[in-house]
């Protein structure tokens, strides 16, 4: 275990997950399709989970990994709700393009 971290170093894990996170962010920013946006958000969350795992190893402490389960569960619930809303939107508007959500503004 330690040797892996020794060989690679915690920083790289951080950079990796940060990069992943940013990819997620950019996905959220630049994609208009709701599904894709959800997926980007998932990427963000997973990046974080990865980092949790890494830190948990780094600290030789299980809490981090447990936290990952929390966050996965929560994310699942979130996405469930999200999809539900998406469905009703699709029913009412016939599109899942978030760019069309412009009734409320000003």
């Amino acid at each position: 275990m330690d040797n892996i971290l020794n060989q690679i170093g915690i920083e790289n894990y951080i950079f990796l997950s940060v990069i992943l996170f940013c990819i997620g962010v950019f996905g959220v920013l630049y994609r208009r399709n709701a599904i894709v946006v959800f997926m980007s958000i998932e990427i963000m969350l997973n990046a974080i989970n990865l980092l949790f795992a890494a830190f948990s190893t780094y600290h030789q402490d299980a809490q981090g990994q447990i936290f990952v389960f929390f966050s996965m569960a929560v994310a699942a619930a979130e996405v469930a709700i999200g999809l539900a809303i998406l469905v009703s939107i699709f029913r009412n508007m016939g599109t899942i393009d978030v760019g069309n959500l412009k009734n409320l503004k000003g």
Binding site: I14, V28, I41, H59, Q63, F67, A77, I85, S88
Partner: protein, 456 residues
């Protein structure tokens, strides 16, 4: 802890009642239950303890806010019956969701461990997503839900990231330990990043500029009762949590931090007030006013070590007047497709009492004396000037001058315009809630010590 369990149990009870066809009983029972919870909270207030190796820490602070949340929830639930009268079948769900939301809120203020904090915030948010979109067939409601969901989950992502960094820095989620280490050792660079990320997440929740964009849209789109919930309960929860978080994480904020808070609070006030000037939709207007109030509340962070009580006072005053105002708005905009100010024309003639209440609550928000809002501002200014940030106070004052502009737009509509149709009969509950809320508000103004001394 017992409070939390009791609340959750109450939620489940609602669902059971639906199954057992005691629909009629739901609301009364819940209210009674919540009052009981209030009692429990009082016990907790007197005996601060921590549970499950610091997962939950019940302190004076947490119990006071729990009490406030519970009271607000009572109001919200009391309003529910008439609000959801046309889909009674789902009422248990709505009630239950609100209760669970309350549970989340309680978890947020009484967390002793970041995990608990995260769960709380998620429970709260998720229930809100549902409530926001709860009017399935209404496009606006859907859009509101969607927007809130997207940005909300994005924010949760940020918060989670922040928590992750904190964990990385500290190797623990336990607030107590983190506090300790944050004081002592010299910290890895991730720690401040983590803190700031979490803080930003909370800024989003309290809708501070520039993370406020969701607020107007969501407030406008969601069903009015949900808007009520957001603008009163949720805002209070968020600011309270942020306050607790920052106190826990690093008691003495660095100058850089202070500067950020100053900038953001001034920005929130200004943007909120100025934007509110030209709104025609009352809910949207109040959304912006909420943003400006968020700015005011953020000022408490400038003297974080001793401003707890003024925060409590401010939030209480604000949320009470909010409840009163929304009760009236609910009554006025019942069976109306929009919430334009024009709906309020001539309310002063049609229904003097309601008009007076709305006027009073608006005056309270504007900070006119004897209403609690004034004292809230006063104590706040006092704290901040004491801490030596005169500039912020002056900005705040200028803002409260601007704010009068739009609060009075509503009052003028009520008193200076002719009514466009006959007055509808008011459900008793709306009266009751509005009157009680505003009376509490005024009483708070006359005897501020009652609240101030809670956190002595």
């Amino acid at each position: 802890m017992n409070t939390l369990i009791a609340i959750t149990g109450l939620g489940i009870l609602c669902l059971l009642f639906e199954i057992l066809n005691f629909r009629k009983a739901i609301i009364p029972v819940t209210i009674i239950g919540l009052l009981a919870v209030l009692g429990l909270t009082y016990l907790g207030y007197n005996a601060p303890t921590s549970y499950y190796n610091n997962m939950i820490v019940v302190s004076k602070f947490s119990s006071v806010f729990t009490g406030l949340f519970t009271v607000l929830t009572v109001f919200l639930i009391a309003l529910s019956h008439d609000f959801y009268e046309d889909h009674q079948t789902k009422i248990s769900d709505f009630i239950a969701i609100k209760i669970f939301m309350l549970a989340g809120a309680v978890a947020m203020v009484s967390f002793g461990n970041l995990a608990m904090f995260f769960l709380g915030i998620e429970v709260l948010s998720i229930s809100l997503y549902i409530l926001a979109a709860s009017n399935r067939l209404n496009v606006k409601s859907n859009e509101a839900g969607m927007k809130y969901f997207l940005m909300g989950s994005f924010a949760s992502g940020i918060i989670l990231f922040g928590i992750c960094f904190i964990y990385g820095a500290m190797g623990s989620f336990d607030v107590a330990e983190i506090t300790e280490w944050s004081r002592s050792a010299e910290l890895p660079v991730w720690f401040p990043i983590g803190i700031s990320l979490v803080t930003i997440g909370m800024f989003f929740k309290i809708a501070a500029v520039p993370f406020h964009f969701w607020a107007p849209d969501v407030y406008e789109g969601s069903p009015t009762l949900t808007t009520t919930t957001m603008s009163t309960l949720v805002k209070v929860v968020a600011i309270a949590t942020l306050y607790k978080l920052l106190t826990a994480m690093n008691a003495d904020l660095s100058d850089a931090y202070i500067n950020i808070i100053i900038v953001i609070s001034i920005a929130s006030m200004t943007v909120g007030n100025i934007m509110a000037l030209k709104q025609n939709n009352v809910k949207r207007m109040l959304a912006f006013s909420g943003i400006s109030h968020a700015g005011f509340m953020l000022m408490t962070l400038l003297s974080i070590s001793n401003s707890a009580s003024s925060l409590v006072y401010y939030t209480t005053a604000y949320s009470l007047s909010g409840i009163a105002a929304f009760a009236v708005i609910l009554y006025v905009c019942k069976n109306k497709d929009n919430e334009d100010i024009s709906n309020f024309n001539g309310l002063g003639k049609n229904n003097p009492l309601m008009a007076a209440i709305l006027a009073a609550s608006l005056l309270s928000m504007a900070g006119i004396p004897i209403f609690a809002g004034f004292f809230a501002k006063l104590f706040l200014f006092n704290q901040v000037i004491e801490a030596g940030y005169l500039v912020v106070v002056i900005a705040a004052v200028i803002n409260s001058i601007i704010s009068v502009g739009y609060y009075f737009k509503l009052i003028l509509a009520m008193y200076n315009k002719e009514p466009n149709e006959e007055a509808a009969k008011t459900p008793f509950v709306f009266y009751a809630v509005a009157v009680v809320a505003i009376l509490l508000n005024i009483a708070l103004g006359l005897f501020p010590s009652v609240v101030l001394d809670l956190l002595g």
